[in-house]
């Protein structure tokens, strides 16, 4: 079955520290891969996406993610976290070549930032 696993439910990092959020997926082929961020009471904002090509993807707000086919992973990283990064982060997969309306999401990782 197709699924997305985000192993960490809640992560706390200090402001200025580096961040890595983990994402593993189970899918028949290499899917399209996404990271979204959701602030409390808000909708989802796309941080970055991977369709093909360079496995290191740059996104908005200084985030990047690396696709590793051998590990079925798409981990999100940021070198220096800001207090405003506190939010919930969702990894998602979509059908390659599809319309991308039907995404499968992980359960999310809540990020807290200590001053």
């Amino acid at each position: 079955a197709q699924s997305v696993t985000q192993p960490d439910i809640h992560i706390t990092v200090s402001e200025g520290a580096s961040l890595e959020l983990r994402c593993n997926y189970s899918y028949g082929a290499t899917p399209y891969l996404f990271w979204y961020v959701q602030s409390p009471g808000q909708g989802l904002q796309l941080l970055l996406k991977y369709f093909s090509g360079d496995t290191l993807v740059q996104g908005i707000k200084g985030f990047e993610a690396e696709f590793k086919r051998s590990q079925s992973s798409f981990n999100l990283r940021k070198p220096s976290v800001h207090w405003s990064d506190a939010a919930e982060y969702f990894c998602a997969v979509g059908e390659p070549g599809g319309s991308q309306g039907n995404l499968i999401f992980g359960k999310g990782t809540k990020l807290s930032v200590k001053p």
């Binding site: 997305v4 399209y32 979204y36 808000q42 909708g43 989802l44 904002q45 796309l46 996406k49 369709f51 969702f90 998602a92 070549g97 599809g98 319309s99 991308q100 309306g101 039907n102 995404l103 499968i104 999401f105 992980g106 359960k107 999310g108």
Partner: protein, 113 residues
């Protein structure tokens, strides 16, 4: 350029009632998808509409139905509400052709009491 807009933002309904949620897609988009996000969970795909037809459907009962209008806006209807239907309902829009990013609205919070 308006993004995806949803209404209402919050509503409270009683078990057994029916609810209609509305979504206007981002300008230029022709496809609308609906998701349900329960508290503490990731969004779950309900269905997708394109050219006024349901194109894909997730694992949701027939109590969940939808409609897309000629102007691409969409409605989500839920009949015979259950307490478990309490959630944030997200609308997302995109272009139907391959490889396009979908954009989410801020959602409609539904509480069933």
């Amino acid at each position: 350029d308006a993004g995806v807009t949803q209404s209402p933002t919050h509503l409270i309904k009683t078990r057994g009632q029916q609810v209609t949620l509305r979504c206007s897609p981002k300008s230029g988009h022709d496809t609308v998808s609906w998701y349900q996000q329960a508290l503490g969970q990731g969004p779950q795909f309900i269905f997708q509409y394109y050219e006024e037809e349901e194109r894909q459907r997730g694992n949701f009962p027939d109590r969940f139905s939808g409609h897309q209008f000629p102007n691409y806006s969409s409605e989500l209807n839920v009949n015979a509400l259950l307490l478990g239907d309490s959630a944030l309902y997200l609308c997302a829009s995109s272009l139907y052709s391959s490889g396009n990013t979908i954009y989410f609205g801020e959602g409609s919070w539904l509480t069933v009491v």
